[in-house]
Symmetry: D2
Amino acid sequence: MIAIIAGTNRPDAVSLQIAQLYHQLLAERGATSQILDLNQLPPDFAFSALYANAGKNPEVNKLNQLMTEAEKYVFVIPEYNGSFPGVLKTFIDGLPYPNPMRQKVAALVGLGSGVQGGVLALSHFNDILSYLNVETLALRVKLANINKNLADGQIHNHLYNELLNTQADRLVAYAPALVQV
Amino acid sequence: MIAIIAGTNRPDAVSLQIAQLYHQLLAERGATSQILDLNQLPPDFAFSALYANAGKNPEVNKLNQLMTEAEKYVFVIPEYNGSFPGVLKTFIDGLPYPNPMRQKVAALVGLGSGVQGGVLALSHFNDILSYLNVETLALRVKLANINKNLADGQIHNHLYNELLNTQADRLVAYAPALVQV
Amino acid sequence: MIAIIAGTNRPDAVSLQIAQLYHQLLAERGATSQILDLNQLPPDFAFSALYANAGKNPEVNKLNQLMTEAEKYVFVIPEYNGSFPGVLKTFIDGLPYPNPMRQKVAALVGLGSGVQGGVLALSHFNDILSYLNVETLALRVKLANINKNLADGQIHNHLYNELLNTQADRLVAYAPALVQV
Amino acid sequence: MIAIIAGTNRPDAVSLQIAQLYHQLLAERGATSQILDLNQLPPDFAFSALYANAGKNPEVNKLNQLMTEAEKYVFVIPEYNGSFPGVLKTFIDGLPYPNPMRQKVAALVGLGSGVQGGVLALSHFNDILSYLNVETLALRVKLANINKNLADGQIHNHLYNELLNTQADRLVAYAPALVQV
């Protein structure tokens, strides 16, 4: 199972639409995936599920369970203030130890309303995944001017669709067992 | 007034001790400062003070007010998973628009229990401040092996104390009005 | 004197045109500047002016002398392979020790033929300047699609001109003596 | 064949010793490797093998041929001024197009005389490899205080040896064909 993390708690987020689109791309390749919408986190999770409270929040435990069961990950990351959303990092900070993503593989999709498509957000997040020993696909997909390029839940930009398809192909083809040393 | 942000919501955080120590460094230089402890945030702030709820949480408004009144900033940033804590970024994501730190100046202090002292955390955070048009002092102080180097609220490491003092000198001497173009 | 470094050795580089344009922006503000074109480096400088040969290449010594005399810096940085040009970094690696830019101030201008305008290049380069204790203006100007936006040595993009002017204002206004602690 | 790039042109570089040590690690795993010592580059390569002169320098062509034949890469990267050496990036900037490393895999080893072990250098370099579509192993090995930890061509630090061995295992086990979509 591939976990697709919609990386913000903003209601009606564009990231969720991209997550749903990615879910479809994976389905077309015969891969099962499940969307984790960070908007579904319990509102107080930064306090009720971290540090001394780690493991004590049943709703967060359910999400962490999905993160543990998943074999691969897609992170859909909107650009907030030149980086990833704080809520996404807090979710990562609250994952159980040892980190359930360790030595698995992740694909990164950035998006933004501006011209960058989250390029710094993805660079920062790749550093975090490297720290956690999560293999990250080289191809970071950056969706800029997202409001112009997304309509009716579909990307209307040939290059972006090509990149998303290539990334999905690579993620599905990736054989994590071979790097599980 | 200089705002010193203790960048985590972890109870009894080392970051808070460093913030208190920095408060003293500034007092010795005749500079008034105030500590903002992110552990004092309302537990649900990531939901109750962002997006449609921006400005609606009185407790967060008080902190944002301090961020607005401050003329300079010190960010004390513990390394969490190879970057800054998600809670710190969420706090930044919830600041009012336009950002109250714009064209002011910030000093960065990183800390960690390992050998890095938050070097990547500070690099990432500098990118965010640059995005927000906040001048950041070149000297990023990185306190590694913090558990070994901190006791009784004091740093017991000559180099680290020297760096903190130099940074505090520069922060106090910095004349933001001159760059307010 | 402000040194403007055209950050590549590519002949007829667009970076040199941007450097000339910046020279004019500074002149309009009454500030003297001098362009250092890295295409003028002796071809073997990476070997004849580094390590045991540091200080032995008279042509490089002349450039280093300008770097020493300068009080402020503008780095014009084209994006090469997702970062700054290797030649620019080699020039930095060959500067005398202690680094002549120490505790002075720099402004960063990135440019690229693609949509990013060197955003990662500037992030990486800011890390280097921080390491060298060079204050870097928060405003990193990123000139994307440069081939479309530059003609006859002028930028034809309102936002870009505004950003360049704001940055030049701040660089000229910056009072380094105040942070020379 | 695995290419091991000793990432500096400094004579008698520690990086070359680490490259030789890595060569041995790979040999123990039955993997053929070849060291590319950037000190062997023709001194004027930044001018004689880039831009209009690309492909015209026979000595550089030989190195580029090795980069093309290699199926995997190890980059040994000393920290210079808070990042990778300029010469290493210039070598990358001069590689033929399309880049011969595309969709192959690389392992990163950083080293430094200080406490960081090149952590920022590796982060920056990972961004470059991502840009070039080169898969990079999550595990970035950082060798700090290298002068203390290296003697007689051997690393005398249990953790460092463990990390190097784990990384070598993963590099050898990595099956690039599976991600060649």
